[in-house]
């Protein structure tokens, strides 16, 4: 072996630094050559870059967490009040605890949608939030961080890249940190918090957890049940796309039972779809306008040869009488 392990580490450190700062094409060629020149080089390099990754990853979280959450020992009551402050007074109280820097320039803004409504909000940093039906978010931007709280429903975030200001969405006790990406967070009644990642990578973590964040890449989803660990669940691209059809004001079903479709529509409209139990298991496939349950029922009726009856704020689907 020509060079000592010490020298190899020094070369690796130098390459990791240079690569972090950006290589010229010529340097890139030299780097590739160096990587192959010795069987220790790749490993030494990965460790050198790994050092940077460890710092970025854990220091970033240390800061996010300490800036948005109180120390572990506070009571649940204090914790609840401190996060995004239940009131202005709570905000000041929090400022007292953590120093004023984070809070003094922050302003809270609330955006909400009614049933059947989809709303696109351009945020101050160029990120876009799209709210699905009956959803509410609270936006709080500071110099250091971009905090969003999903109060109810479902929202899609297209996040503008900015390493210096982490973009963190909180839904119940789940924190979702974006690493420059497009993803949805949903929090629906009787369902666990769910995150769908369309592009890029997000990291999920319980607000008070000490375990490592779960990293979830594009075309996957993560589920955060209230009584179990956060886990990644694979999802295929076509299903992901269907799940995001609401973005364009549509609901997409693939072999969905009428029963399930009806309960999905209940999120979008006060007009109730009532499915006769005898046909509740009949399935439907297709894309339908999300805030038009009557239109959906008529389509379903035509497709499956069923009878449809509209009575005020209720639409019934049942078997056609012979």
């Amino acid at each position: 072996m020509s060079s000592t392990s010490q020298q190899v580490d020094e070369q690796a450190a130098k390459w990791a630094a240079l690569r972090d700062l950006g290589l010229t094409p010529q340097q890139e060629a030299e780097f590739q050559h160096w990587l192959k020149a010795d069987k220790r080089h790749l490993g030494a390099y990965a460790r050198a870059e790994g050092v940077l990754i460890r710092v970025e990853r854990s220091h970033g979280w240390a800061r996010d967490i300490s800036s948005i959450l109180p120390p572990v020992k506070t009571s649940p009551w204090t914790r609840r009040r401190l996060f995004f402050g239940g009131s202005l007074a709570a905000g000041f109280a929090a400022a007292g605890v953590f120093g004023v820097a984070l809070w003094k320039k922050s302003r809270r803004q609330i955006y909400a949608t009614g049933k059947g409504e989809v709303r696109e909000i351009l945020l101050a940093d160029g990120s876009v939030a799209k709210l699905n039906t009956a959803s509410t978010i609270e936006v709080q931007y500071t110099d250091d961080a971009r905090m969003i709280r999903l109060v109810a429903g479902e929202a899609l975030f297209d996040v503008a890249k900015n390493k210096a200001r982490p973009f963190v969405v909180r839904a119940n006790d789940t924190l979702v940190r974006a690493v420059g990406t497009s993803f949805t967070v949903s929090m629906l009644p009787r369902n666990p918090v769910r995150v769908l990642v369309k592009e890029g990578v997000v990291e999920l973590k319980r607000a008070d957890a000490t375990a490592a964040p779960l990293r979830v890449g594009a075309n996957s989803q993560a589920i955060a049940p209230h009584d179990g660990p956060i886990r990644a669940v694979p999802i295929d691209r076509s299903k992901l796309v269907r799940n995001l059809a609401w973005e364009y004001g549509r609901l997409a079903f693939d072999d969905q039972t009428l029963e399930a479709a009806a309960s999905e529509y209940a999120r979008y409209s006060d007009i109730r779809i009532v499915v006769d139990p005898a046909i509740a298991n009949k399935t439907i496939t297709g894309s339908f306008v999300s805030n038009d349950p009557i239109g959906f029922a008529r389509n379903a009726g035509a497709l499956l040869d069923l009878q449809v009856e509209v009575n005020g704020r209720e639409v019934k689907i049942f078997r056609r009488s012979p």
Binding site: A17, V55, A211
Partner: protein, 197 residues
Amino acid sequence: MSDDLSDRSRWLAINVLPHEALIRSKLNDIRSYNLDIEDVIQETYTRMLSVPSLETIRHPKQYAVKTAKAIIIDHVRHARVVSIASAGRSDTVDVPERSATAEERLEFQEEVAAVEEALAALPEKCRMTLLLRRVEGLPQKEVAHRLGISEKMVERHMTDSIKHLIKLFGRGRKTRVQTSNRAFEIGGSDVVDKPTG
């Protein structure tokens, strides 16, 4: 930077590097072979990262120890180097642990503490450069401007920070190694740890 090499470095940073001190402690018998443990660690990482798919490595820590031991044996036998392709077959070294409870995951809190501790041990300029660049994500020029140093010095401080941290992390934290060690024994006892040739 999201190329394959960086993805692999990230995998290493998350799954293996926090345990480096522990892995090192498992290779104590190396001294009798007159080998440099640092060479072995570097080569171990090269071999691990040369596996076609890192996802097939289900127990990175154990895998690292076993790979390192295999490398030691190779050197002792004067068998030059096993080709990367054959060394990378995960079925030969990645044995499942005996019980699911033995799956010992380093608490992220400890990782945060380890990183903070190491950062605190860096020279001030190095630490500032590293944080501005890597955590704040500022361009080289801006880092230089903020610290009142030349861009060349930014590069120097970055390099020095990495060098220091490789050493600091490699040494590990005293409190952690002890506790991790016990859980580790459970899965790692069927290692071939004596050269046969």
